[in-house]
Symmetry: C2
């Protein structure tokens, strides 16, 4: 990221908020590509077009910088979910819209996804906890959809525990497909979402009709 220069060749000054976002952009990229430890503050600063003390002035420390990245990207992901979900829709429609939004977001922000999914959980507290909280919210959303579906059919002897396990499996399948999708950039995110709907929802459908797999 070359630094903007004015006519006299001197470096242009930018307001704090703009610089902070540039720093976060640079940090997300570095953390995603090199990993938390291998990414040096000097490199982040250089990529942001700024000197190192500026990063410390605005973001505090390497830990706080990483946390700020995680919070920003986690917020975006949750917003993408929330923005697509309409409580009035049927459960499968809610899941469909949420998944589509998710795969679109991941396709457009691979580095963010790597930071959230691969880097943050591996580097202990407080990073892992922050991502775990986000993931818990997503799993709760999935569990709620499954639960709605169960109740609407009156089928079930499923406990909260059972539903939680299913939600974890569903979210894990989504995460894995997100990784798979980054290796197939040609695929439309909506197609990926359809794949997961079929894999997961059809399985649930079978389950909820009392069709159980036995050893």
């Amino acid at each position: 990221m070359d630094r903007v220069r004015n006519v006299t060749g001197k470096t242009k000054r930018l307001p704090r908020y703009v610089r902070e976002q540039q720093m976060l952009d640079a940090a997300v990229q570095m953390f995603a590509r090199r990993g938390y430890h291998a990414a040096s503050m000097d490199e982040v600063a250089e990529l942001a077009g700024v000197s190192k003390p500026m990063v410390y002035l605005y973001l505090g420390s390497k830990e706080e910088l990483f946390l700020a990245c995680i919070r920003r990207e986690a917020g975006r992901l949750l917003d993408a979910f929330a923005g697509q979900v309409n409580q009035a829709d049927a459960p499968d429609q809610q899941l469909w819209h949420a998944l589509r939004a998710f795969f679109v977001l991941v396709a457009e922000n691979r580095d963010s996804w790597r930071v959230l999914h691969q880097q943050a959980p591996a580097h202990g507290e407080p990073f892992a906890g922050e991502v775990a909280a986000m993931r818990t919210a997503i799993i709760a959303f999935a569990a709620d959809l499954i639960d709605q579906n169960i109740r609407s059919r009156g089928v079930s002897e499923a406990t909260e525990h059972d539903v939680s396990a299913l939600a974890h499996a569903l979210v894990g399948a989504g995460e894995s497909l997100a990784d798979w999708a980054t290796e197939h950039p040609d695929e439309d995110p909506a197609t990926t979402a359809r794949r997961l709907m079929n894999f997961a929802w059809m399985g649930l459908d079978n389950l909820l009709h009392g069709s159980i797999w036995r050893p």
Copy 2:
């Protein structure tokens, strides 16, 4: 890990192979609990009941030590799969046996699982590549089972691409459930395996009978 002492109070010497395994045990534990970077070679050595230069003498460097951990644990995981699979069984039985072995292994070796699933992929090459290779083998196994099932029913227009996506989703669901299971140590691994069989196989069953989810 206190060092073994003989009657005179002097430290007991052990043959190289035994020490190496102790070092790897200690390293897996440290890497899993503290993370790759936060785990220091001094701590690993102390936990193994040995001084740091011994670790360097036998295992080479921190990178090689981590790689050795990954290779050993990945090998065990693949062996656990291979040992349970009988080609003569029906596809669902093969998957069932493999999943049960997998969840048993994870329940008994949480640290190994954390190293393979959480630490190794986050710290770049050559670690990520080593785990990716193992994961590719597992996904190929899953894809093969799905494919067998498809062919045996003669149902399908599924491409290799489609099958690969399903296999990725299935494996991701398994990984996520493995994490979930470590938070529920009371649950029998076989029960966890049954959960996944129901979630995944019932979904596939529906798919293969031509029952497709549509937006």
